[in-house]
């Protein structure tokens, strides 16, 4: 088996992985960047609304304010030292992106423009029209091309982490072009594999967002944290789940029910359409349950009305919204309201790391959506996560590079044996798999289970039912068949490996959701409707055991260095 050596190995070519790669390259170490798709195809590309930082003060903004909005948005489950560092570094990173060519939208005087976003108390979200993620990803990917220290391995699918001697020493990956397995060894390995929205049927996430990195870390013994908190975005297009960005409300759009009422006045009158996502998603479901939804081909929706904004503003600031609505549901928002409903969008939870991106498994780091470094708590604020990818991508890349520079090489023989074992495992498991179950069928049943039972509102019973169904699905998966025996681009095999990860990660979502007997942020329990700080001002940690996840708890960090900490209090808007 071929062995490829780097000082730092990064899995993932999205915004977080590329930022980490550049930061590590600047430190002078050799960097390998492995990604299952070409970097510019990573799902960062689909982000629309923008990225938050204190880049203007004429709006009344300050670091303290951004910090407080983030903590309050998180329903006090964010680690406050981490949020503090985040707001302090945010502007540096977004201006760095500016110097790297990101075409940010501008004010007439040439300074960067900012827009309103949910849960942000002033305008502070920088944007590149409504294709912010697309522009950021292409700008950073193209910039990364000038660093000779970064060697890319595009379209390589990582199947497992190499753990030897208590350390992560790299990864095993399948080169899709040849179907061959290769070993990538490294002194520090960074997972920047993005989210896992595809665990659910109705999601804004791309087909590739299967949470592989969560699965890789979990299997290697690192804990996944706060997985009970997937974020539901209030405005997904029925049918496809395509996102209509929050910027549509930031620019002044209204949410109305079937009577044409702006129903948020009953839920969050002080913020209305600019409230945090968890609160608005719940309000939408409550409206539909009360019979005030608008029936449609794919069930009930509410309506997002942009008509009063006029076509000039829509064309200038929300052209992609117009394009998506026209193309996928045949509605021109200049003339008609858009039907929308809550949709799974983002995973607050992830591989538990400290502020340096270091996981409890030595040698293993994580950043971006795949990580739970402590920023987002129980509800992330829209436009904080692109910035999160940059701030923690950069820090993690730097720290990993410095660690790598001091770490001796691992024993080659032991690692090669691990690689051979992994190839043999996959061949034995899927090579001759001739059962009666199809990969696609199990994936879709899993997604429907999560959709039905692990939604915006949950109960202990629905969650236990979900756990039961997951067990059945896992049992069915032992009988999965893989018909494809061609080595080159065997996408059926890759899909089987992804679903294998998904079935395990789904359990790490359900298990802590059952145990967290409270409602906080995006977890709304009908049987425990209040927040309970006595018991649950803690992060969950899911460790893998033979019998499924074992859950432990870890206190939230409530202290800061220079900004004023925000003690937990009732979350009032």
């Amino acid at each position: 088996m071929d062995v490829i050596k780097h000082d730092v190995l990064i899995v993932g070519g999205g915004l977080a992985g590329l930022r980490a790669a550049i930061a590590a390259a600047v430190e002078g170490v050799s960097v390998g960047l492995v990604s299952k798709v070409y970097p510019m195809r990573s799902h960062t590309v689909s982000a629309e609304g923008g990225a938050a930082a204190v880049v203007r003060t004429d709006t009344g903004d300050s670091l303290q304010l951004h910090f407080e909005d983030t903590i309050k948005g998180s329903d006090f489950l964010a680690d406050q030292n981490v949020a503090e560092y985040f707001v302090q570094e945010a502007a540096n990173e977004l201006i760095q992106m500016e110097h790297w060519g990101c075409p940010w939208s501008r004010e007439p005087d040439g300074s960067v423009a900012v827009r309103a976003f949910g849960g942000m108390s002033v305008h502070r979200t920088m944007f590149a029209s409504d294709k912010s993620g697309f522009h950021m990803l292409h700008a950073i990917f193209q910039t990364s091309l000038k660093y000779d220290k970064i060697v890319r391995y595009d379209e390589n699918f990582v199947t497992s982490l190499l753990v030897d001697d208590g350390r992560c020493q790299g990864v095993v990956a399948m080169d899709q072009r040849s179907g061959e397995f290769r070993l990538f060894t490294a002194k520090a390995t960074i997972l920047a594999t993005g989210g896992c929205g595809r665990l659910w049927a109705f999601t804004t996430n791309g087909f590739i967002n299967t949470g592989d990195g969560h699965g890789l870390a979990y299997r290697a013994g690192a804990p996944l944290s706060d997985m009970e908190f997937p974020q539901y975005h209030p405005t997904g297009l029925p049918g496809t789940g395509i996102l209509i960005t929050e910027a549509a409300r930031g620019e002044g759009g209204y949410l109305v029910n079937k009577n044409g009422d702006r129903f948020l006045s009953d839920y969050i009158p002080s913020r209305m359409e600019l409230g945090p996502r968890d609160i608005i998603s719940r309000a939408e479901i409550t409206e539909m349950e009360a019979g005030r939804g608008v029936p449609g081909r794919y069930g009930d929706t509410v309506m997002l009305d942009l008509r009063h904004l006029g076509d000039e503003l829509i064309n200038r600031k929300l052209p992609f919204v117009r394009e998506l609505a026209e193309r996928y549901i045949g509605i021109d928002p200049v003339h008609n309201p858009i039907p929308v409903r809550p949709v799974v969008h983002y995973m607050m939870g992830g591989v538990r790391t400290d502020i340096d991106g270091q996981s409890p498994l030595p040698g293993l780091f994580a950043c971006g959506e795949a990580a739970q470094e402590g920023l987002n708590g129980a509800n992330r604020l829209g436009s904080n996560s692109l910035t999160e990818c940059l701030v923690f991508g950069a820090r993690t890349g730097r720290v990993a590079a410095r660690l790598a520079a001091q770490t001796p090489e691992a024993s080659a023989a032991a690692i090669e044996a691990l690689g051979a074992d992994e190839e043999a495992r996959i061949a034995a498991r899927f090579g001759e798999a001739t059962g009666d179950e199809r990969v696609g069928q199990i994936r879709s049943d899993l997604q429907l289970t999560m959709e039905r039972l692990v939604g915006v509102y949950r109960t202990g019973d629905s969650l236990k039912q979900a756990a039961e169904e997951l067990r059945t699905l896992k049992e069915r998966f032992t009988r999965v068949r893989v018909d494809d025996h061609t080595r080159v681009f065997n996408m059926e095999l890759q899909a089987a490996l992804e679903v294998d990860f998904m079935l395990e990660i789904a359990e790490t979502v359900v298990a802590p959701s059952i145990l967290r007997e409270e409602s906080r942020g995006s977890q709304a329990r009908r049987d425990f409707t209040d927040r309970d700080d006595e018991k649950f001002l803690v992060h969950s940690l899911a460790y893998r055991t033979e019998n499924g996840p074992q859950i432990e708890w870890q206190p939230v960090i409530l202290t800061t260095e220079s900004l004023t900490a925000l003690p937990p209090a009732e979350r009032k808007y």
């Binding site: 502007a91 990173e93 940010w104 294709k131 091309l145 087909f207 590739i208 696609g440 018909d483």
Partner: protein, 251 residues
Amino acid sequence: MTESTIKLAVTRYRPGQDREPTVQTYTVPYHDDWVVLDALQYVKDNIDGTLSFRWSCHMGVCGSCGMMVDGTPKLTCAAFLRESYPREVRVEPLANFPVVRDLIVDIDDFMHKLSEVKPYIIREDLDSLPLGLGHELRQTPAELEDFKQFGMCINCMLCYSACPVYAMEPKFLGPAAIALAHRYNMDSRDQGRNQRMPVIGSSEGIWECTFVGECSVVCPKHVDPAAAIQRTKLATTNDWFKSMLMPWGNR
């Protein structure tokens, strides 16, 4: 009521197994809001797990899913079955690229060309510019407009597939790479034009491009690469004249 269906005629090629590409026909349910990609994924999940193709975003922005649909290069996540129904839909890999397998083509050539045109901001002080609040390089909305359109490229390769010059001359940098070079040349923050122009001006094929404009017709993002090529040619000619008149100037 029986469900309506539609036929997909899909090119298959599995290296090591098939000697040459063949066509396989699948019958899938017809929905008027399904795109070609939905139908392909239906095949993969329910009929034939061995069919390989690339996709991710399903919203026309990741650039993965370009294929020939009824003979025209299209994003399959934006090409609706209803555009063909009730006729069968012909799905082939993108023309002008080597086929790796089934509907997957090899785009290495473009990835190399992309690096060659130095698609990033070049300026001497780049790494020493201060960061943070108030330190953006100023750029007016009008300056942004000068290049924005050429920066909308999602690298979907539809334009290469439609380009008659690239079909004949694989060394041609091609529409998207030139559009991106032009995008950076036109960016008020950039000072790298002199480093990019030699790569582009000397490149094979640019002078053969006759402004057929097929690239701009198929481009799903209205990048208008044909316009970028024409402007680049003009600029290159100007540079050439300048270098003749002022042999030591501006070098």
